[in-house]
């Protein structure tokens, strides 16, 4: 035990003495979390609308007004022809083109129907889908308004009104979702990288060789390496959550203790992972690349940025060995939905098992080799 104390002490001395790495380890995760959480939003607003109004009647103007008053669209331009408008789409100065045909008002008044054309830049499918939904919603409401004005409002056909509400995040604030997720991902990466590089570095420099001839056992050496980084990760997460809470007013519904307890058990997964990687790398370069390869995959597949349910089945299976996925799920469930331990049990035990397995593998493949 005493030996481990000396090992940990040495590790901390080295970490804190490295004045250039320290900010990268402590400050960068938090700064990135704060900054990037603002970016993570699929919210579609400020859509640039280009209108080709062949009709130019009060009805058509009323429709256009509805679009701009909705809050989703801002008026970009009045195009004179469809070609012109499409050019704006191509140049990406406009996101959506609304084309109102000649005789729009007349057709409605006389025959009770009408036609509109909507063209959307669908390069970003998601944005296009939502823009389309907004546009259709506005047109639908406009349709309803016209019907009511024409006197059909009371004898309205049978209609189903949809009342929608959003639980857990009524204001649809993305930061609530993103801050804990991004923090967790970055800390995971920092921890895994640090561990992997640190061990390979010692091997490259030859300090492991020196360690191997001392009475320090494999276990003591490993503990002496993992414990400092583990403690460090807890600090980063602690500070990160505190700052996030203060800066973004993230609701912390669930028990804070649960969050810390979970993080304390989750980080060993990443530590073990970094450690495992280091056993198969000969140089720091290989260690970093291998770690990065897996971490990027874990991160993008974790469900933090894209919905899990959209992923093919085999990918969802793969996620069972993705520690970051468990972490993101946990953060969301506990921090946003206030889930109690009982409800996240499966996740919890999966993580514990993962940590045990990956660390065992790492120890097994670590030979006191020179």
């Amino acid at each position: 035990m005493r030996t481990i104390r000396f090992l940990i002490q040495k590790e901390f001395i080295q970490i804190f003495r490295n004045k250039t790495m320290l900010p990268l380890i402590l400050v960068m995760p938090i700064v990135q979390t704060l900054l990037l959480s603002f970016a993570a939003s699929y919210e579609v607003k400020n859509l640039a609308l280009s209108v080709v109004d062949h009709d130019k009647t009060s009805t058509s103007r009323r429709l256009i007004e509805r679009f701009t008053a909705s809050g989703y669209f801002k008026m970009q331009s009045y195009a004179r022809s469809h070609r012109e408008a499409e050019a704006e789409l191509a140049a990406e100065t406009a996101d959506l083109v609304l084309e109102i045909p000649l005789h729009f008002e007349r057709d409605w008044v006389r025959e009770g129907n009408g036609q509109l054309g909507v063209t959307i830049n669908a390069l970003n499918a998601q944005k296009a889908g939502i823009s389309n939904a907004y546009a259709n919603g506005i047109i639908r409401e406009f349709n309803q308004e016209l019907l009511e004005r024409a006197g059909f409002g009371h004898a309205a056909p049978r209609s189903i009104q949809v009342v929608s509400s959003n639980w857990y995040n009524p204001r649809l604030d993305y930061k609530t979702f993103m801050v804990p997720g991004i923090l967790g991902v970055i800390v995971s990466m920092v921890v895994a990288f640090l561990t992997a590089i640190n061990i390979v570095r010692e091997r490259e420099q030859g300090t492991i060789e020196q360690m191997n001839v001392t009475p320090v056992t494999k276990w003591q050496f490993i503990a002496g390496k993992l414990l400092p980084f583990w403690l460090l990760s807890l600090v980063i997460v602690g500070v990160g959550l505190t700052v996030g809470y203060l800066a973004f007013h993230i609701p912390i519904e669930g028990s804070l203790w649960l969050v810390f307890g979970y993080t304390a058990l989750y980080t060993p997964c990443m530590l073990g992972f970094g450690f495992l990687v280091s056993n198969f790398a000969d140089t720091q370069q290989q260690a970093i690349f291998s770690a990065w390869f897996f971490l990027l995959i874990f991160t993008l597949m974790s469900g933090l940025f894209t919905p899990l349910d959209s992923m093919p089945v085999w990918a969802q299976w793969l996620n069972k060995i993705n520690p970051i996925h468990y972490f993101v799920e946990f953060m969301r469930l506990v921090l946003l939905k206030g889930a109690h331990f009982f409800e996240i049990q499966r996740n919890f035990w999966s993580v514990v098992m993962y940590a045990v397995v990956v660390n065992s593998l790492a120890i097994w493949t670590y030979k006191k080799r020179v």
Binding site: T3, F6, K10, E209, Q210, V213, T214, T217, V370
Partner: protein, 248 residues
């Protein structure tokens, strides 16, 4: 005054390749034993077996009474090691290094304090005690590393090319330290490729292709090979068919 190191038909193979081929020798307590040989002759492999880093394929080696194959951890407790590549942490201070190694070798707090002061004083590093090892010149680092290797009062100290890259004056001072340790009863096993240093040893062995081809005192070897210096002995051994030119 018995044999601190006893090696009997020690062998190590890597697949088809035999790195160390049935070597046998003994080292007495307090002896300075030079372990010579060309690169690739098997010195390093043999050394690694003796320090418990590598398992022998066959044969036995007893270091301070412990069988390296069965009790490698006990062996490590009673030996000290200093390699050319590294011994101390460059980003730790002199004092921190001493404390660290003392600590992991199991010295108590009071012993640590004592030893730390002792080492610093003996090496004259009072001014530099708080400096990072990185800022010490190479010669001082080697001396410090040697002192640290002895901090737990080991019976044997293995030195792997300890004076590489060091100036002659510092090398001499270093060897004075080795003699001093020997006088205190510590057994020292030194590998080196500086042939003059071979002369400083009590006995030396020369490995060629995994075998020990020569084992005796420097003087005896010079006589045996009719050579003026160890360099010539070595050359005659390594390339027995080639005529040796003399530089007069």
């Amino acid at each position: 005054m018995g044999n601190v190191i006893q090696v009997q038909a020690l062998t190590r193979t890597f697949g088809d390749f035999t790195a160390v081929n049935k070597i046998s020798f003994e080292v007495r307590q307090g002896e300075i034993f030079g372990f010579l040989g060309a690169n690739g002759a098997g010195k390093t492999t043999a050394l690694k077996m003796l320090t418990g880093l590598l398992m022998p394929s066959s044969g036995t080696a007893l270091v301070a009474g412990y069988d390296v194959a069965r009790y490698p951890e006990e062996v490590k407790r009673t030996i000290g090691y200093m390699s050319q590549r590294f011994s101390l942490y460059e980003d730790l201070t002199v004092r921190e290094n001493i404390r660290f190694f003392g600590g992991i070798y199991g010295l108590s707090t009071s012993q640590l304090r004592e030893k730390t002061a002792q080492v610093i004083e003996q090496l004259g590093l009072e001014q530099q005690a708080g400096l990072l090892v990185r800022s010490l010149p190479l010669g001082w680092r080697q001396k410090l590393a040697f002192a640290v290797a002895q901090i737990h009062e080991p019976k044997v100290v293995f030195l792997d090319e300890p004076t590489s890259g060091v100036d002659p004056l510092t090398r001499r001072q270093f060897w004075e330290g080795i003699y001093e340790a020997s006088a205190r009863g510590i057994t020292l096993m030194v590998t080196t490729h500086y042939m003059e240093e071979a002369e400083y040893c009590h006995r030396i062995s020369i490995m060629v292709d995994g075998r020990i081809d020569a084992l005796d005192t420097p003087a005896a070897l010079r006589q045996q090979f009719k050579a003026v210096d160890m360099d010539e002995v070595f050359r005659k051994l390594a390339r027995p068919d080639q005529p040796v030119g003399h530089v007069d």
